[in-house]
Structures are given as C-alpha cells and as structure tokens.
Amino acid sequence: MKDKVSFKDKMKAFKEKITPKFVKDYYQKKEDEIAAVDLINLSKPVNDVATSGPKKMKDFSLWPGWKSALVGVAGVIFVIIIWWIYAAVCEAAGKTSFLSSPIAVCEAFYNQAIASSNLWTHLWYSLQRIIVGYLIALVAAIPVGFLMAWYKPVRAFLDPFIQFLRCVPPIAYVPVVVALFGTNESSKYFIIFLAVFLTMAVTIYQGVKNVDLTLVKAAYTFGARDRNLFMGVVVPSAFPFILTAMRLGVGAAMTTLVASELTGTAYGLGAFINSQGGQLAMDNCIMGILVLGIFGIVFDKGLLAFEKRVTRWK
C-alpha cells in the first residue's frame, strides 16, 4: 500500500516538473478570472421568454406515411428531370457517349430484358453468387459472433483480422483472390462471403454482448442451466441483431457484387456494367446500375417486412 502512494507522489512531482511554465500560467490566469467574478453583484438573467421564446423545430411526428412516400416519389422525379436536361445538353453538344437520356436507358432495358433475355442471364449469374456467398457467410457468422461475445479468447484471436479486413475494400484484394482461387465461381463466392461475413459477425457480436444480464440472472433463479440459457435467453435477446445483421449483409453483398465480378467473367450484372462502360455504351451501363440498385431495395424491403413480423415484441 505505502509503495503505491509513494509512487503516485513521485508521478505527481514528475508531472509538476515537466509541465511548461506557460501551461501553468494559463491555468493560473483562468483561476484568477473565475475568482474575480463577483457573484453577489452579478445582474439577474433577463426574463423575456414571453416575447422571444426559442423557435421550435417543426414537428413531423404525426406526418402520415403517404406524405413521406409522395416526397420520395417527387424527389425521384426531380432527379430524373435534372438528368434528362443534362443528357439533352450533352446531346446538343454532340457528346452522346457522355450521359444517356432516361429514354435511351428505357430503350436499353427493352432491348436487353424484353426483346432479348440478356439481362436476365446476367441477373441470374449475379443472384447465384450473392445467394451462395451470403448463405455461407450467414452460417459462419452466427456461431462466430456468438463465440466472440461469449469467449474472450476467441474475440482476442479474431479481432485483429476483423479490424484489418474491415479497413480494406474488397476490390483491393481482387488480384490476390484471383491468384488463389482462379477465375472460376469460387473466387466470386469468396469475395462476397468475406464482405458479408465481416458485417454480420460484428453486428451479431454486438447483439450478444448487449444481452441484459438481469434476464440471465432471472433465468438462473428459475432453475435454467447453461444450455437452456443459450436457446431460451441469449438467442431470442440477440435475435433482432441477427435480423439487422442479415439486412446489413444484403447491403454488403450488393456492394461487393461488382468487385467480385472483376475476377474474370463475362456474365453477371457487375461484369455487364463494366463491359458496357468499357464500350462507352452508357445507356446499358446506367440501366445495369439501376437494376442493381432496385434489386437491392427489393431485397432489403423484403427482409424488413420479415423482421417486423417476427419481432413484434420489440
């Protein structure tokens, strides 16, 4: 005990010694300023609430859903109009490869999706890759997330890898993945898997970490054993987080799809966007991007509806 105190004193003296004079002066000056304030003769705050209360922010809490939807649609139309005008300006300047008009994009969609089945072939390849990579990631992330939260050594072991990989965009390790896996499907699965797995494992880990310990204690007092605790308390508690992880995972899968299809393939939505862009076929390129985005929204909304259904208790 005494050793600790003397060490503390030493540290204090050392700190005192290394603090520059101007820092000490600064603190002294502040002290003096505070001491000089005369609280007794300080005038009272002016009461003018009646005349100039702070203006409240507009309250949108009672806004109906259809109004929000209307604003959303109006926003989309507004952006399309701007796009249209800019595309017309480009065309007038003779730069058709610069930006295609919305009409041209619709035509491209007709050509690729209705007149021929090109687009669906690409979409089917991409969908396969997303589903395989996503499902492997889901199956792996659930136990890893739980183990990381439950056993500190597991977390200590995996944490450096997860933190490292989170900082590297998937597109950066495309060459390495090609070198390791070749240009077959497994390289695409792997890139999507990695991105989805990282997102999901971290979210599930957070969820299990957040389990209310009082609930665990309560379950123990009712005679629950460790194995009952896992299925009866930990999994349901973390369930909303698993669903959130699944949604974030879809986002990660969609955003890494294009990167995964840079590993040498002629098929897939990402490959399509890339090759069309390379040929300056902007109408097809923009159409591909739109289809990819809409595809993602549909996926996400589906999962959101599922989430709302199964977590009514939240």
Partner: protein, 302 residues
C-alpha cells in the same frame, strides 16, 4: 414474537469484499449474522451502499461471500436455484414472451412429485407402486416429474388472475406500464412457488400511487400464503407497513445495526399508517437511518 418458525436461511458471519485496483478494497458486508424463519416477512432498510443488495445476491446465490457462509436448511448456498425466487427492481421480464409465457417460464425447469404408477401385468391397469420408508412403513412411491404444459398454463393463469392482469395475458411487456410489469414479475415469482421469495427494491422505480397499490396487493397475497419473504427497500414507511421484522443495516462497512419486530397485526393496509404504533416504529427507524446518513457522510459531504 412468541411462535417462531423454523430457520430456513442462515447467514453466518458473512463478509463480502470487492477488490479495487489502486485503492482500498470496498467492504460491502462486514460480518453479517441473520436468521430467516419460516413465514416471516423480513424487510431490510439502510442507506445506499450498505450492502443490502449484496446480501440478497448472496442469499439468491448470484454472488459468493468472501468469508462466512449462507445456508438454506443447513445446506450451503452455492448458486441460484428455484427454491429462492428473486423479484428484481428492473422487472427482468423476457421482452419476447407474452405475459402468460413469461409467467409460464417460472415452471419450465422445476419438478414436482407425483405418485409412481405401474401397469399391472395381470389386470392391465395402472396401479400405485409402494415402497418402504426409513421407518420400515409401507408408503406410496413417488417420482419427480416436470409440470405438463397444461399444468403450467393453469398455474400461470392463477397468478395472473391474482395480480389482476387476465385481460393482458397475451400482451408483450412493452405494451404494459411499469406497475403492470412489476405485477407480472410478482406473478412469475409466485408461480415459481419457491420456499423463499427475495425482493430487491421491487417498487423502487414506481410512482407513489402505483407503489401503494402494489404494497396492498403484496400484503393481500402474503397474508393468504404466508410465503417467507426477504424484501429490500430504502423506503422506511414501506418496510414498517410490510414487515413482520425489520433489519436496519449500516453502511461502510455493511453491518446489521438493529433488528426490530414489528408488532402490528395483519391484515394491514394503507390505513395501518395512521396507527400511533406505526408512527412510533417509523420515527424510530427514520431516526436510526438518518443518523447513519449524516455520520456516513452521504449528507455532510465528507
């Protein structure tokens, strides 16, 4: 008290020390001795930091004493168990279960005894099996089984009725007010049918009106079943109103300061607070607790 029941829980010179890095260790409990008897309603009061909750956790088996020992019927308490139900201040309801399912959870793991039946090979009918006890007498053999789902539902319904929440049986906890949640927690605690019920400031987070209501509810049920209760509170009125015996604890280090038998007849109600004897008990306990606050520095600021 004349007719003292048999001792259920015995706290024997229990000491609990929390080690603190770079500082003095916190002595939460310093040699506490206590006996909890059958059908007693014990209330523990004391200033914050007197180790009330630590003591409850030790009885509940959620914490282990540093020194000394807590026993139930002479067996040392090594962990939490269904013989000691706990009602927490934070309700601890499972948010993903409805009220009914929450109360049913209490009977999920416990077992009860039923007569052991066997098929008679001659008649083909089920018959009671007999065995001999330690005195050599022939007694019906029993076996331990879990409750069936129907039994668990019936138990849950009984206690949900008791706390007057039948209309809310299929609601989720988020749809209930704080007072209703605590009533569900009480129903769940009763459904466990433990020998001892430990209550850790169960009404601490509720408004005054709801609290009075729940105090009355608790009194009604206790007067009916006389289940041994160990109730922690910092509310002096509450402890006198409910308890058959009050334990005043002092802070830093946590010790039993005074034990007072509350000699007010049951049934009690909020009207009991007007009894001059109630006032006497209340003033006395206030005095002791307040003096401790001052001397412990909680008010005087060191």
């Amino acid at each position: 008290m004349e007719n003292k029941g048999k001792v259920v829980i015995k706290i024997d010179n229990v000491k609990k020390i929390y080690p603190v890095e770079n500082g003095d260790d916190v002595i939460a409990l310093n040699g506490v001795n206590l006996e909890i008897r059958e059908n007693e309603f014990i209330c523990v009061v004391g200033p914050s930091g007197c180790g009330k909750t630590t003591l409850l956790n030790i009885i509940g088996g959620l914490e282990q004493p540093t020194e000394g020992q807590a026993t139930i019927h002479g067996r040392p308490i090594l962990g939490p168990g269904p013989d000691r139900g706990i009602i927490f201040q934070q309700y601890a309801l499972f948010p993903w279960l409805t009220v009914k399912k929450n109360v049913m959870y209490a009977t999920k793991f416990i077992k009860h005894e039923v007569p052991l039946m066997e098929k008679n090979p001659e008649t083909g009918e089920m018959e009671q099996v007999y065995t001999t006890n330690e005195n050599g007498e022939k007694v019906p053999a029993m076996k331990k089984v879990k409750y069936t789902k129907a039994e668990r539902e019936a138990i849950a319904r009984k206690y949900i009725d008791m706390v007057q929440l039948s209309a809310f049986a299929n609601k989720y906890p988020k749809e209930l007010s704080g007072g209703m949640k605590q009533r569900v927690a009480i129903a769940r605690g009763y459904a466990l049918n433990s020998e001892v019920l430990l209550l850790d400031e169960p009404f601490g987070a509720l408004d005054a009106q709801t609290r009075s209501q729940l105090q009355e509810d608790l009194l009604r049920t206790w007067e009916k079943e006389r289940k041994t209760c160990f109730f922690i509170t910092h509310d002096v009125d509450e402890c006198v109103l409910l308890a058959s015996r009050v334990i005043i604890m002092s802070a830093r280090p946590g010790q039993v300061k005074e034990v007072i038998d509350i000699d007010l007849p049951y049934p009690r109600s909020q009207a009991t607070k007007l009894d001059p004897k109630f006032q006497e008990y209340r003033n006395h306990i206030w005095d002791v607790v307040y003096k401790m606050y001052v001397s412990s520095g909680s008010i005087n600021n060191k």
